[in-house]
């Protein structure tokens, strides 16, 4: 077993999750930073596929991401290692601190800290949004991305249709269309 690699998996997942305020989805940019940036376990494109699939499946996102990445990098032990790092420290903190936190939640400094985190998480997510749009443009061109973004906005925000339904329908449409590789190549160049 490669202890160094397992240690890296543990550190990456622990760091991302201890800094991730606002639930799992807010942690995705931090995991991206560790996996694509710091340790270079995956290319940007592959990571995006993993995020997309994790969004399509039910259940918590971060445990799916951590578990998959752990498995990808370090096999079964890597998977368990990543999950332990992602889940246990914060779960244990919750068990230990819920009683104590009741008395601290009204302290102004603590409130200020929780408030100041929100815009930073927003920025991390916006940067990630931009990356996804850029990738989309490389793959389906400007107008394709424009159209897909518009459709997604309307379906998700105005019609309040569940994201999983939208993603599955789009995947079926994309899969059944005849691939026009020549056009795709031309678009990738242009």
């Amino acid at each position: 077993m490669d202890f160094r690699k397992q240690w890296h998996i543990f550190v990456a997942m622990l760091r991302a999750n201890l800094l991730g305020y606002g639930g799992g989805p807010a942690t995705i940019p931090l995991i991206h930073k560790e996996v694509v940036g710091t340790y270079k376990w995956m290319e940007d494109d592959e990571f995006s596929d993993v995020v997309a699939l994790a969004n399509t499946l039910p259940g918590p996102i971060v445990t799916k991401l951590s578990g998959y990445i752990g498995h990808h990098v370090g096999g079964l032990i890597g998977m368990i290692n990543a999950l332990v790092a992602a889940v246990f420290p914060t779960a244990i903190l919750t068990i230990l601190l819920v009683g104590t936190l009741v008395s601290f939640q009204d302290v102004p400094a603590v409130q200020g800290m929780t408030e100041a985190i929100a815009p930073v998480v927003g920025v991390l997510l916006i940067v990630m949004t931009y990356n996804f749009l850029k990738q989309s443009r490389q793959k389906v061109g400007f107008w394709g991305t424009f159209l897909l973004t518009l459709v997604s906005l309307v379906v998700l925000e105005l019609l309040n249709i569940h994201p999983a339904i939208l993603i599955v329908v789009l995947m079926v449409i994309a899969f059944s269309r005849r691939p026009e590789q020549e056009r795709e190549q031309a678009q990738q160049k242009g």
Partner: protein
């Protein structure tokens, strides 16, 4: 028996809850409060509020806490396992399939089509955080924090950990 109940109570939200952990909270509440009566609505709400004040995924924090309350350490382990395992197994299976056929043109087309909707999901989430900040700390602090962190993260390539630590200090000193 109680372990089985814990397993079911967290297994069901884990397989029917789409949209990540936060989306499965109401489903967890239904199981924990209405079906098994381990907690009242108010207590559940308090634990949720405090859980949100701590970092990390919310679904597993709730599972850990409630499992521990109901049946000690083994209870916490069972609840966390039920939350994590089913969706992760599906993920590993489908990702394997996807990687196997990833050079197939139709599969490539499939993955390229879903970039934009994921961008929309992330973008909407980002704006929820911006509006939350706007409500809690006002326009000026929100603009200062957004501008500074964007500059630090993108222009100067500062590690997010440092930016977040900086924001915590700013919050404790300026926003309190």
């Amino acid at each position: 028996m109680v372990y089985w109940h814990l397993f079911v109570a967290f297994f069901i939200p884990g397989i029917v809850g789409y949209g990540g952990g936060p989306a499965s909270i109401p489903l967890i509440e239904h199981e924990v409060v209405n079906r098994y009566g381990w907690m009242g609505t108010q207590e559940f709400g308090e634990v949720l509020a405090l859980g949100n004040a701590l970092p990390g995924p919310i679904a597993t924090k709730m599972a850990g806490f409630i499992g521990f309350e109901v049946a000690g350490v083994p209870g916490a382990l069972v609840a966390i396992f039920a939350t994590v395992a089913p969706s992760l197994a599906a993920m590993l299976l489908l990702m394997k399939l996807l990687l196997k056929y990833k050079d197939h043109p139709r599969v490539q087309q499939m993955t390229s089509f879903i970039r934009a909707p994921i961008a929309v999901l992330l973008g909407v989430l980002a704006f929820q955080f911006f509006f939350m900040s706007w409500d809690d700390s006002g326009v000026v602090h929100t603009v200062v924090l957004v501008g500074t962190s964007l500059l630090l993260l993108e222009k100067f390539k500062v590690h997010p950990a440092i930016v977040i630590a900086g924001a915590l200090v700013y919050g404790a000193v300026v926003l309190s």
